[in-house]
Amino acid sequence: MKKTVATLLAATILSSPAFAETVKIGFVTTLTTGGAVIGNDMKNAVDLAMEHLGGMAGDTQLEVIYGDDQFSPEAGKQVTDKLVKQDNVDFVAGYIWSNVLLASLNSVVNEDTFLISANAGPSQIAGVLCNENFFSTSWQNDQTPMAMGEVLNQLGVKSLYVMAPNYAAGNDMVAGVERTFQGEILGKDLTKWGADAQLDFSAELAKAKASGAEGLFVFYPGAAGGAFIRQYDQLGLSETLPLYSVFTVDALSLPRLQDAGFEAVLGSRTTQEWDPTLDNEANKRFVADFKAKYGGYPSYYGAQAYDAIMLIASAVEAVGGNMDDMDAVRAALKAADFDSVRGDFRFGNNHMPIQDFYLREVVIDDDGVWTTKVVQTVFEDHQDIYAEQCKM
């Protein structure tokens, strides 16, 4: 018996190559609670990316292990620790929420593991907390609202009321629009967020209306977005207080709004770094296959998650699956040598993307489905403003 075990052991040692055959990717997102609508879209996109890759990065097998952050920083850090310490993953990707990402960052980057954010882009990680093992396939939080502020200037809006959830990203979004918007901010509300987020905005909307502002800027991602738009419309504000939003009207809320026959949202505008209509081969394939597989448009969350997997695959392929040489993997990630669904893609010194931002409008596509299209490029090759605080 003893001999057999020893033989088997020897055989295993002899047959295993110098590095792991399978590269493991932990993917942390929200799979339960109201945030699951986003997590589900990201998971679908990751599954599609794996299908497009055939589960391989060059000659190396890829494996994705999902983790649920339950919309809370504590649970997010816990599942991150589990992925890093117990499952020994080589990359941790995902993260919708900035507060979850901030809580989980050190659990990954201090353990010689790479973290690829597929959504959250808190200012801290772009600036003072920037880390060589962190990369983003999304944006820095301030950038999208900065683009919206620029659009507001072009439209000649003179005063604004601002509403956002009270957490890391909400603060960044508000800071972003305040940075570029040249008019006056007449009032600001930060509402409760998390698994027990505030979804009834009657008090805040009444204040916004009473403020007499010329426009209302909001950031309400996920389930809160649809809820916000309903209440905005029920108050009949579209005439007096036009809505300018970021991350609120998207491929996740539009199908529900269409089911409910809610036409006020058609024509509304929002800024984004990606759109299903962007004209490049990778995006066409991604959008067409996503629609064929899941019966609806992907959201930017899905697009960013897809890019995260493609970025990882490109780096793993470049180093031939040898994850032991961290520097080589890092250089390969930094090179961003993959076909991003948003077209050109490169990293700044803080490993945040330098990219274009577009103005999108809600339209009805040829099949009668509500979606968005690009109407204007607001920023070209835009880099976040925290990059200079990063010593890297």
Binding site: T32, V37, Q234
Partner: protein, 307 residues
């Protein structure tokens, strides 16, 4: 301070209070009479919202959907009472908390499997979508006024049921001394089942009423259940009057806090400091009220007369 805004926010606060009352009344009935801590009460709120949303979209009629969804939610309460709650009445509160917390996870997951993770938007008939213009500055969504109306009617019906009917007499007697009620030959099991189903229906109604505003989403009940517990602790556990006044109080304090705290803070601190501290304090406000009530009057503001 703008008087029109104050009126508007008071009405918003009343609307929130009435929704809270619908949830808290069921909770206080079940907690007060059955001595059963039902954390899953919020799950019934969510279930009501989802059932109503499905029927609204299928039948294209919100009112009809509510009429169908109400007995279905009551039935869900009936099933939960028979299968889960009944076995736990004799156990201590910790066991009940654990079991009903498990129930939340089960119901959340069932909803996730059955309706998907996206949640549902609920369309309203056109006549409910508009606004009512009371004065030039006071414009309210018709639907929110309808919620206030429905809440008040339900509160009146409950008052009648609890204070003017034989059944209500039994309920009140059960809240005071249920062993004595049983000793007098009342079928306490049936009474309990009825109360549980009634509580479920009230929670479901609240969920149905809120879903056209916030949409039906998974976990929507976990938010309101905590506030509902605050309401019944402030109002006095087991007391319908306490639940009503407590709900109004909490609804008003929460809404007015969210509306005016930043302007009040700005009087004695910098605007920037007020802007950051006001949301944090207004989120805590109702818990501060609860703590104060617990210190000064641990039995709540309006406890049931005999306990």
């Amino acid at each position: 301070m703008d008087p029109a805004l104050l009126v508007l926010q008071t009405i918003n606060g009343l609307q929130l209070g009435l929704l809270l009352f619908l949830v808290a009344s069921g909770l206080t009935l079940v907690f007060g009479i059955l001595d059963f801590v039902n954390l899953a009460h919020g799950a019934l709120y969510m279930l009501g919202a989802f059932i109503c949303a499905s029927f609204t979209i299928a039948l294209d009629n919100f009112l009809l959907a509510i009429l169908i969804a109400l007995p279905l939610t009551a039935f869900a309460g009936f099933v939960i009472e028979r299968l889960v709650a009944r076995n736990l009445y004799q156990r201590d509160h910790l066991d009940q908390v654990l079991a009903t917390f498990g129930l939340i996870l089960v119901i959340d997951t069932c909803v996730h499997i059955f309706w998907g993770p996206a949640g549902m938007a609920v369309p309203l008939p056109d006549w409910m979508e508009g606004q009512v213009r009371i004065t030039e500055d006071i414009v309210l969504p018709t639907y929110r006024l309808l919620i206030i109306f429905t809440g008040l009617v339900t509160a009146a019906l409950l008052y009648w049921l609890v204070n003017r009917t034989r059944l209500g007499m039994l309920i009140r007697a059960g809240a005071s001394n249920r062993r004595m009620v049983g000793a007098l030959g009342i079928d306490i099991q049936t009474l309990f089942t009825f109360v549980f189903a009634l509580g479920a229906m009230l929670a479901g109604l609240a969920g149905m009423l809120i879903s056209p505003i916030t949409e039906a989403s998974i976990g929507m009940g976990n938010n309101i259940i905590i506030t509902a517990f605050v309401v019944i602790i402030v109002g006095g556990i087991g007391s319908m009057k306490g639940a009503f006044i407590g709900a109004m109080l909490i609804g008003l304090i929460d809404t007015l806090g969210r509306s005016f705290l930043d302007s009040i803070f700005a009087l004695f601190m910098s605007t920037a400091a007020a802007e950051t501290s006001a949301p944090a304090v207004s989120a805590m406000l109702i818990y501060i009220i609860m703590a104060v009530v617990l210190v000064l009057r641990p039995q709540g503001l309006f406890p049931p007369k005999v306990r």
